[in-house]
C-alpha cells in the first residue's frame, strides 16, 4: 500500500470509475440478461396461451362433431324404422290387393263359366227342342200322311212345345 485515502472523502477518479462500472453493469444486464429472459418468459407465456386456446377450440369442435354425429345417428335410426314400417305397410297393402284381385278374377271366371254353362244349356235345350219338333213333325207327317199347311204346322208345333215345356 502506498497510503490511504481519507476515511470520509471523495475521489473524482474513483467516482468516475464507479459510474462507468454501474453503466456497464446496467447495459450488460439490460442487453444480455433481462431482455432475453423476459422475451423467453413472454414467448413461453404466449405459446402456452396459444396451445390452450387451440386445445379449447379442438375440444369445442369435437363436442360439436359428437353432437352432430349423435343427431345423425338418431336420424338414421328413425329413418330406418320408418322405412321398415313403410315397407311393412306397403307389403301388407300389396298382399291385400293381390288377394283382392285374385278373388275378383276367380269370381269373374266363375261367373263366366256359369254364364257359359247356362248358354250351352239353353243352346242344347233349343237344339233338343228343334230336334224334337222336327222329329215330331216327321212322325206326325208320317201319321197324318199329309203335309200340314204352314199355319197348321206352326200351331201344332207350338202346342206340342207347350206340352213339352210343361213336361220338362
Amino acid at each position: 500500500m502506498e497510503g490511504f485515502e481519507n476515511f470520509i472523502g471523495l475521489n473524482p477518479w474513483t467516482a468516475l470509475f464507479m459510474l462507468c462500472n454501474l453503466v456497464i453493469v446496467f447495459l450488460v444486464f439490460k442487453k444480455f440478461l433481462f431482455k432475453p429472459v423476459q422475451k423467453m418468459i413472454d414467448d413461453r407465456q404466449q405459446e402456452i396461451d396459444t396451445l390452450y386456446a387451440e386445445g379449447e377450440a379442438k375440444r369445442l369442435e369435437a363436442e360439436r362433431l359428437h353432437a352432430d354425429y349423435s343427431a345423425q345417428l338418431a336420424g338414421a335410426r328413425e329413418e330406418s324404422a320408418r322405412m321398415l314400417r313403410e315397407a311393412n305397410a306397403s307389403a301388407q297393402q300389396q298382399r291385400e290387393q293381390i288377394l283382392r284381385e285374385a278373388k275378383a278374377d276367380a269370381a269373374a271366371l266363375k261367373e263366366k263359366a256359369n254364364a257359359d254353362i247356362a248358354l250351352e244349356k239353353k243352346k242344347a235345350l233349343n237344339d233338343v227342342k228343334d230336334d224334337i219338333s222336327s222329329l215330331a213333325l216327321d212322325i206326325a207327317e208320317q201319321v197324318v200322311g199329309k203335309n200340314l199347311s204352314g199355319a197348321d204346322q206352326n200351331a201344332l208345333v207350338e202346342e206340342f212345345l207347350r206340352d213339352m215345356g210343361d213336361l220338362s
Binding site: 485515502e5 475521489n11 474513483t14 467516482a15 462500472n21 444486464f29 444480455f32 433481462f34 432475453p36
Partner: protein, 294 residues
C-alpha cells in the same frame, strides 16, 4: 488501531495522479463477476428451461415484480438499472467479507456516485415528463417561501442516500476493527493476569475442566465458558513458560457472529434500502402516462 479510507495500491502518474484504490479493484471484480454471470445466465435460453434457467427466470421475475409493484407497470424499463444498482451494492458490500478486498460501498466516492446518478435521473425525468417550467415551479409549492427548503431537501436527497449507505457499511467495518482491537486488548490483559502465577493457571484449568467434565453443560453458553477457561489456562501456561506472548484467543468466535450482522445483514439491507429509495424517487419523477399530461 487505525481507521482509514481505502488503501491506495499505486498511483498512475497522469492527469495529476490517478490513485488506484482498494475500492477500484473491488469494483472491477464485482463488475466482472456481474457481467460474466449476466452473459452466462442470459445465454442458451430454451422454452423448456433447465435448472439454472429456472433460477434465473425466478430472479428476473422477482426483481421485475418488485419494481413493477413499487413503480407501476409503465416504469418497467428501469428494472435493469435498479437490478444493476442492487447487485453492485450487495456484492460490493459482501466482497469485504473475503478479507482480501475492501467493500466498494465503504467508500463515499461509490455511494455518492450512485446517489447522484439516481438524482440526475430523477431531475432529467421530471423535466422530461412535466416540463422545465413545471419542475421549477414545483419548488415553490405549496408556498413560495418554501423554495429554499425545497431546494435543500432536493440536495439532501442524494446526500442522505450516499451517507446512509456509506455510513452503514463503513461503520460496520469500523466497529469490527474496534472489536478486534478490544478483544486483543482483553485477551492480553486476561493472560497477563493469569500468567502472573502458576496457582492462577492451575485454578483456571481445574475450574474449566471441572465445568466441562463434571457438570457437563447442555447449553452452548456453558460449553463456551468452559472452553474459554481451558484456553485461558493453556495459553496462560504457555505465556508463563515464555513460549507465546498475548495470544488474542478471544478474537475467535465473537467477530464471526458480529460479522453476520455488520456484513451480511447490513449489506443486504443497505442494498435493498438504497434501491428501494431510488425506485421511489424515480417513480415520483415518472408518473403514469395519463397523469403526466395534467
Amino acid at each position: 488501531m487505525n481507521i482509514t479510507g481505502p488503501g491506495i495500491y499505486f498511483t498512475i502518474p497522469i492527469l495529476g495522479g490517478i490513485r488506484v484504490t482498494q475500492t477500484v479493484v473491488s469494483a472491477l471484480i464485482v463488475t466482472l463477476v456481474l457481467c460474466i454471470a449476466a452473459v452466462k445466465l442470459g445465454k442458451n435460453l430454451t422454452k423448456r428451461p433447465g435448472r439454472m434457467q429456472v433460477i434465473t427466470e425466478k430472479g428476473v421475475t422477482m426483481i421485475t415484480d418488485l419494481v413493477v409493484e413499487a413503480m407501476g407497470e409503465h416504469n418497467r424499463r428501469w428494472v435493469p438499472y435498479l437490478a444493476a444498482l442492487f447487485l453492485s451494492s450487495l456484492l460490493g458490500s459482501l466482497i469485504g467479507m473475503t478479507g482480501i478486498f475492501r467493500s466498494t460501498t465503504a467508500d463515499l466516492s461509490t455511494t455518492a456516485t450512485w446517489a447522484v446518478m439516481t438524482s440526475l435521473i430523477c431531475w432529467y425525468q421530471s423535466i422530461k415528463n412535466f416540463g422545465l417550467g413545471a419542475w421549477l415551479k414545483g419548488f415553490t409549492e405549496p408556498i413560495a417561501i418554501m423554495t429554499p427548503m425545497n431546494i435543500v431537501s432536493e440536495i439532501a436527497q442524494p446526500v442522505s442516500l450516499a451517507f446512509r449507505h456509506f455510513g452503514n457499511i463503513a461503520g460496520g467495518g469500523v466497529i469490527t476493527t474496534m472489536i478486534y482491537w478490544a478483544l486483543a486488548g482483553a485477551s492480553a490483559a486476561l493472560l497477563r493476569l493469569i500468567a502472573s502465577s502458576w496457582i492462577a493457571v492451575a485454578a483456571v484449568l481445574v475450574l474449566g475442566g471441572a465445568l466441562l467434565l463434571i457438570k457437563k453443560p447442555k447449553k452452548l453458553m456453558g460449553k463456551a465458558l468452559a472452553i474459554v477457561m481451558l484456553a485461558l489456562g493453556v495459553f496462560g501456561a504457555l505465556q508463563k513458560l515464555g513460549l507465546f506472548e498475548s495470544v488474542p484467543f478471544l478474537q475467535v468466535g465473537i467477530p464471526a457472529v458480529l460479522s453476520l450482522y455488520f456484513d451480511c445483514f447490513s449489506g443486504l439491507i443497505q442494498a435493498f434500502v438504497f434501491t428501494l429509495l431510488s425506485m421511489i424517487y424515480i417513480s415520483n419523477a415518472c408518473p403514469p402516462p395519463e397523469e403526466a399530461g395534467k
